[in-house]
């Protein structure tokens, strides 16, 4: 059983009259990479800021490590944040930026952070090696040791984000990608239990963004830190996350692994937001579903027989077959070469379908399509969507 590290219980947040977060319940596990996914204004950043302590919920509880953290200021939480525009200190250089979190802590915190006993042992060893008889550890020695340790930790963090050698640079002399890495190093050097990332890759170009996605995932695995990641980019969410929370209007729409969310979206909103999909109205007939005038085998769903449903078929789940044998036939209205596959628009009884296939079809050609039972996904019909 995985250990819950953060729990949101019935959390509401309101700005003036706008209800931004509308009753969120969420458990986040230790060492997981969780992504809050949704369009801008869906409440994902506000949720993150409440976990970070920058906003207080109007109602509900934020529980971290089993304690209610609602009113604790950000500095008292075992959490660090990577901000959207990095928020690096322009008056400090790279090293000082990364060292900021440790340099400004009190004595007790640092003594615990670097393990005082071990430091004392190290100091004694060094002194004995230097030929001192009956060496003693003074406060001054410890202070020096702590400073050494901080420098070491900073250099290690910079090494981790591949910025070794740039520690003396000014922030405004760094590229966007490098600043992003400094922001990461500045957060992880404090060894937080939880790292919050607020669209950290939004300002980078595509290639850099893709590289950073792998690096972030890799880093999360290596460090064993819980990552809570906010993004509006579904591809980013798919690539990195262990679990994804799809949000809309301050409400969680679906929570699940990237595969679950992609293959079994719970509603039209999730289906269209995550990847491309064809959604057709149909009727559930018990292990069968009827749409476009034909019956198709499908999996077992907890719907009533004859209940209207939404049928979701992903563009890549169609198989192209002989025109005569097909239950679904249509006319190709557009064909775009996408590199690996062709993206066809197919008109079937007045409904437009996106079909991805390796076959070449010309515009105007008839086409026969088949869908395997497990590729047909049914969703409950939602009134206003």
């Amino acid at each position: 059983m995985k250990k819950v590290i953060i729990e949101l219980r019935d959390v509401y947040k309101q700005f003036d009259d706008d209800l931004i977060v509308n009753g969120i319940n969420l458990q986040i596990y230790e060492n997981e990479f969780l992504t809050l996914l949704g369009p801008s204004g869906c409440g994902k950043t506000t949720t993150l800021r409440m976990i970070g302590g920058f906003e207080q919920p109007n109602k509900g509880e934020i529980i971290i490590n089993g304690k209610i953290f609602n009113d604790l200021p950000p500095y008292a939480r075992p959490i660090n944040t990577v901000f959207q525009r990095y928020a690096l200190f322009p008056h400090l250089n790279v090293f000082e930026n990364v060292a900021f979190g440790l340099k400004n802590r009190g004595w007790d915190y640092l003594a615990r952070f670097f393990n005082q006993e071990e430091m004392e042992k190290e100091i004694l060893k060094e002194k004995e090696a230097g030929g001192e008889i009956n060496p003693k550890v003074t406060k001054h020695d410890l202070k020096k040791k702590i400073n050494e340790k901080i420098s070491e930790a900073v250099m290690k963090a910079l090494d981790m984000v591949k910025l070794t050698g740039l520690e003396k640079r000014k922030i405004d002399q760094m590229s966007g990608g490098q600043q992003q890495r400094v922001a990461l190093a500045r957060a992880i050097v404090n060894r937080p239990q939880i790292l919050l990332l607020d669209e950290p890759l939004a300002a980078l170009d595509l290639k850099l963004r893709q590289n950073m996605q792998y690096e972030l995932k890799e880093m999360q695995r290596k460090l064993g830190i819980t990552f809570v990641y906010v993004t509006h980019d579904q591809e980013e969410a798919m690539t990195m996350s262990d679990r994804i929370v799809v949000m809309k209007d301050g409400v969680i729409q679906q929570l699940g692994t990237p595969k679950d969310i992609y293959n079994e979206p719970v509603n039209r909103y999730v289906a269209t937001f995550v990847g491309e999909s064809n959604i057709i109205p149909g009727t559930y007939l018990g292990k069968k579903v009827a749409f476009l005038g034909a019956e198709f085998d499908c999996l077992d769903y907890p719907f009533a027989v004859n209940e209207p449903v939404d049928v979701v078929i992903r563009p890549e789940d169609f198989d192209v077959i002989d025109h005569e044998k097909a239950k679904l036939t249509g006319i190709v209205t557009s064909s775009i070469f996408k590199g690996v596959h062709n993206e066809l628009l197919v008109d079937i009884q007045g409904h437009e379908f996106i079909v991805n296939t390796y076959e070449n079809y010309a515009v105007g050609e008839p086409i026969g399509l088949k869908v395997d039972p497990y590729e047909i996904h049914l969703m409950k019909v939602q009134g206003n969507e």
Binding site: G53, P74, F89, P90, G101
Partner: protein
Amino acid sequence: MNKTIRKLAYPYYGWLYLLAIVPIAIMLVLVFFDIEGIGFSEARYTFRNFALFLEPSTLEAFGNSFLFATTATLVSAVLGYIVAYQVFRSRFRNKFIILTLFILPMWSNMLLRTEALGNIMERHNIFTDLLGIPGGFNLRGTGLAVLIGLVITYLPFMILPIYTALEKIDPSLEEAALDLGVTEMRKFWKVVFPLSIKGVITGCIMVFLPCLSGFAIPEILGNGNIMLIGNIIEQSFRNMSYNLGSLLAITILFFIFGSLMIVNKVDKEGGTLI
């Protein structure tokens, strides 16, 4: 288009040459002569002015000027920072109105304002008259009176650049500081203050310069007891001793240019100057 606009600046150039550059040039020449007024017929080339410059009374006035200017600047910096910070932190929606309130007194004549302030500083002033209470003590004519006058007059010049600098700090930097585990107090000293230092320096120079060269406030509030270099310059010119006056004025100009160069260096974009 561009040329036409440039032509519009010609009157200003004329103004600048006539009233700033030419007088400075004349003063630079006058420094080396000993004449009365600007009659060059009996002009004699001399260094006598430099000897006058080193007289104890002149040096004392210089010392006073620097002392008062420095003290007034420091006091204004502390007060100005506190005020600017409070306005910056306040949740008041239209902060511009608060700032306008600070500038408001500057729209009335400075001499009148200073004279009014001098009246309040007297043993029997408008308040004791109106309220019928016995007067306490007489502040007018003391160094403290001059200092208070300088601070009250020039404080807005300190508040505005500091406020502008504070307002330019990205709020996410403060959040980042808190996120990295510092307390509110440490956040101020490690992030907010260093990032607003440009505004403090600009403000200091905007206060220091007029305090250094002004003469009206020490004259009115000091009752002539406090001699600043501005007063000596004023007296020199009034007594037709243009040569000494020029020398002192040029010296002050030298400091002014030096200070402006510091501002230029610290604040390249001129962001904190309004």
